[in-house]
């Protein structure tokens, strides 16, 4: 069951690479949040109940509900155009994300560790690097933020893989999630909306070296 959820997560990455409208990105984020919720429940069987509840609450409320809802609000409030505006055509994006997944599988084939499930490793690494790819290949600031949240989802998968032995690390990951997302989204995206009307990354590219 865990494997099925994780495979759906990596399929969502492929879909994300060809998605064209911002709303589909948000839906994928919701889907990924729900997958993480399920995976957390199924994986962390040895963690004490209160801690497990805290982590699951974070994945469900924060990742699957609050962040996508807030982004949707920002998109409407700032009247951001609905297109994702990638720099590269969808086909090439699809190819690159596929290559990232293949690379992760090759990397996993070198490893030899009975403490880590290879599926977790492959899905986590491919999610992290697809998120990075999303950031460099899309034009809008809001898609950069979505890319960052995809990276965090990947990190969450990785931390779940070691979560049973070291719940402290999963808690740290939850802290990272909340801290970084609140800093980036909460304080900050509101300000961007106030100062510039169309959060296009081009408006924030005047700091240069001459």
């Amino acid at each position: 069951m865990i494997d099925i959820l994780l495979i759906i997560l990596s399929i969502s990455l492929l879909y994300m690479s060809i998605a064209n409208r911002l709303i589909s990105y948000l839906r994928i984020l919701v889907l990924q949040g729900l997958i993480l919720f399920g995976t957390t429940y199924l994986t962390l069987t040895e963690v004490n109940t209160l801690n497990l509840l805290l982590i699951m609450l974070e994945t469900l409320v924060f990742k699957a509900i609050a962040v996508p809802w807030f982004m949707n609000y920002v998109i409407h409030k700032n009247k951001i155009t609905r297109e994702a505006e990638p720099y590269l055509p969808s086909f090439i994006s699809l190819l690159i994300v596929t290559l990232i997944i293949v690379f992760a599988i090759i990397l996993a084939s070198f490893m030899n560790n009975e403490h880590l499930d290879k599926t977790f490793f492959v899905v986590a690494i491919s999610t992290i690097f697809s998120g990075l790819y999303m950031i460099v290949s899309r034009k809008k600031i809001i898609t950069h933020v979505i890319g960052y949240i995809v990276i965090e989802n990947g990190v969450m998968v990785l931390s779940l893989a070691v979560g049973n032995e070291m719940p402290m690390l999963v808690n740290l990951g939850v802290m990272l999630d909340i801290f970084a997302s609140v800093l980036i989204l909460g304080i900050f995206f509101n300000k961007i909306g106030d100062v510039i009307k169309d959060p296009d990354v081009n408006l924030l590219s005047k700091l240069k070296d001459n």
Partner: protein, 477 residues
């Protein structure tokens, strides 16, 4: 328990600064903070190699960096005060309080992170520095400051995620060794038992993550914009004590890899990053027109040298530590002095600057001396550490690397020099001299002290300092 007391004191002072609107009370709080910081450092001096609160150990390197932090922190707060007084028209009680609260928080977070003996604790304090630095960068509340802080926060968020992934890999590598404790000491003691595959991956991620604070390729970019947009006293802290935080974290993780078969891998990684950093600094500094950014790029160059020293080993490790200590004293002087330059010309583009000797003699002499110091020409203190660095390259037969570094440094000196000499000597005609404020020579006094100290420490190092550095070097060799 002193660390907890210091942390609580910092939090109380920061809260006081944020919520209080009275100017005099704010300045009293800042004035209280400095003796508190100094008292904390003096206390730690007498508790070398003792563990407090189970997550903090006062080791040699941490103590050295803490002491230079104390030297820089007081003038930074003083220049922060001068900066706000000069910009009085746009400052509100709220922005003033926030500025000082963020400065104090940044200084405290760095000083506590130096002493942390657990990678997760270091990581948490690195996050706090990101938070306080972003408040400082966004001080002016305009669109360019927004852009600077946006880039900084975003890249730092990615960098702390990378460090976190590195910590996860590290936790996988210790499983086979059968240890639970992830403190630096326990990792160091069990370094030969750790799983090499995970340790290599972990070092890759942790090193890449810390380059954002350390100021190296690939994540140096955020720091440049941050130092450009933050008020200069804050820029001075970002380019000294915050970079040291990156250094100390990389150093502790590298110490785990050193003396194991994985050292070669870590070395290659650091040499690539160091050389690329010096290259990037050389490319930008030869064509840059914004002098504040130029100071920031000069920091990238020095950090490149430091990481090369670490990677090469031999006497290079000693040189790297000495270099970073002296750099902490030299770089802030340039940023402090930048404020005076801006008061004279109201511009940071080198095209608008010139004939500085005529308008501010004391400041101009200082800029000249600081230029010699920052480019490591004798009698600068940095000359000693760079000389040792080159010596270590020769001894370890890295001739080609030495050649490349010297060539790039020549470019850097040329670029740096042409801008500084334009500022100091080129006659300036289209400037309204009646608008130029009189700048008291006393404004430059703290910078002279810092520069003199950097020379003194390099040519006549106290025995205690040499012992502490040698102790710290012992971790790697």
């Amino acid at each position: 328990m002193m660390i907890v007391a210091f942390l609580i004191g910092t939090i109380l002072i920061c809260c006081g600064l944020v919520f209080n609107r009275n100017k005099a009370v704010n300045y009293i709080l800042v004035a209280l903070y400095v003796p508190m910081l100094w008292g904390f450092s003096v206390y730690e001096c007498f508790h070398l190699n003792q563990t407090e609160f189970s997550f903090f150990t006062v080791d040699s390197l941490g103590l050295l960096l803490l002491l230079v932090l104390c030297l820089v922190a007081a003038p930074a707060l003083f220049h922060g005060y001068r900066y706000l007084e000069e910009h009085n028209t746009t400052e509100t009680p709220h922005s003033r309080g926030l500025f000082f609260a963020a400065m104090c928080l940044l200084i405290s977070a760095c000083s506590i992170a130096y002493l942390s003996n657990h990678i997760a604790v270091t990581w948490i304090f690195v996050e706090i520095t990101t938070l306080s630095a972003s408040a400082l960068i966004y001080h002016h509340r305009n669109i360019r400051a927004l852009e600077g802080v946006w880039k900084y926060v975003f890249i730092c968020a990615i960098s702390i995620t990378f460090i976190y992934v590195g910590i996860l890999f590290l936790s996988l590598s210790i499983k086979d060794a059968g240890i639970e404790d992830m403190s630096f000491r326990s990792l160091y003691q069990n370094r030969l038992k750790l799983d090499p595959y995970w340790l290599k991956l972990s070092f890759l991620f942790i090193f890449t993550g810390f380059t954002a604070k350390f100021g190296l390729v690939p994540m140096y970019t955020a720091g440049i914009d941050a130092k450009d947009k933050a008020p200069a006293p804050a820029g001075a802290l970002l380019s000294s004590i915050l970079m040291n935080l990156g250094f100390v974290s990389v150093y502790r993780v590298y110490a785990i890899m050193a003396q194991t078969p994985m050292q070669g891998w870590a070395r290659t990684l650091m040499i690539i990053s160091g050389l690329l950093s010096i290259f990037v600094a050389a490319v930008y500094m030869t064509r840059i027109k914004n002098i504040k950014r130029m100071f920031a790029y000069s920091g990238i160059e020095h950090m490149g040298l430091v990481v090369l020293g670490l990677a090469i080993g031999g006497i290079g490790v000693y040189a790297a530590i000495l270099h970073i200590l002296l750099h902490t004293l030299v770089k802030p002087t340039l940023f402090f002095q930048y404020n005076q330059i801006y008061w004279v010309y109201q511009s940071k583009s080198v095209n608008d600057l010139g004939n500085y000797f005529k308008y501010n003699k004391t400041g101009a002499v200082l800029v000249l001396l600081a230029f010699f110091s920052a480019t490591a020409m004798p009698p600068s203190g940095l000359f000693v550490s760079e000389f040792l660095l080159f010596q270590s390259m020769l001894e370890t037969h890295h001739l080609f690397m030495l050649l490349v570094v010297v060539l790039l440094l020549t470019f850097i000196i040329w670029g740096f020099g042409s801008n500084i000499f334009k500022l100091l000597f080129t006659p300036k005609e289209d400037i309204d001299e009646s608008l130029i404020p009189h700048i008291s020579p006393w404004e430059s006094s703290s910078q002279y002290v810092l520069l003199a100290l950097s020379v003194y420490l390099a040519y006549n190092p106290p025995v205690e300092m040499v012992n502490l550095i040698n102790n710290a070097v012992g971790l790697i060799q």
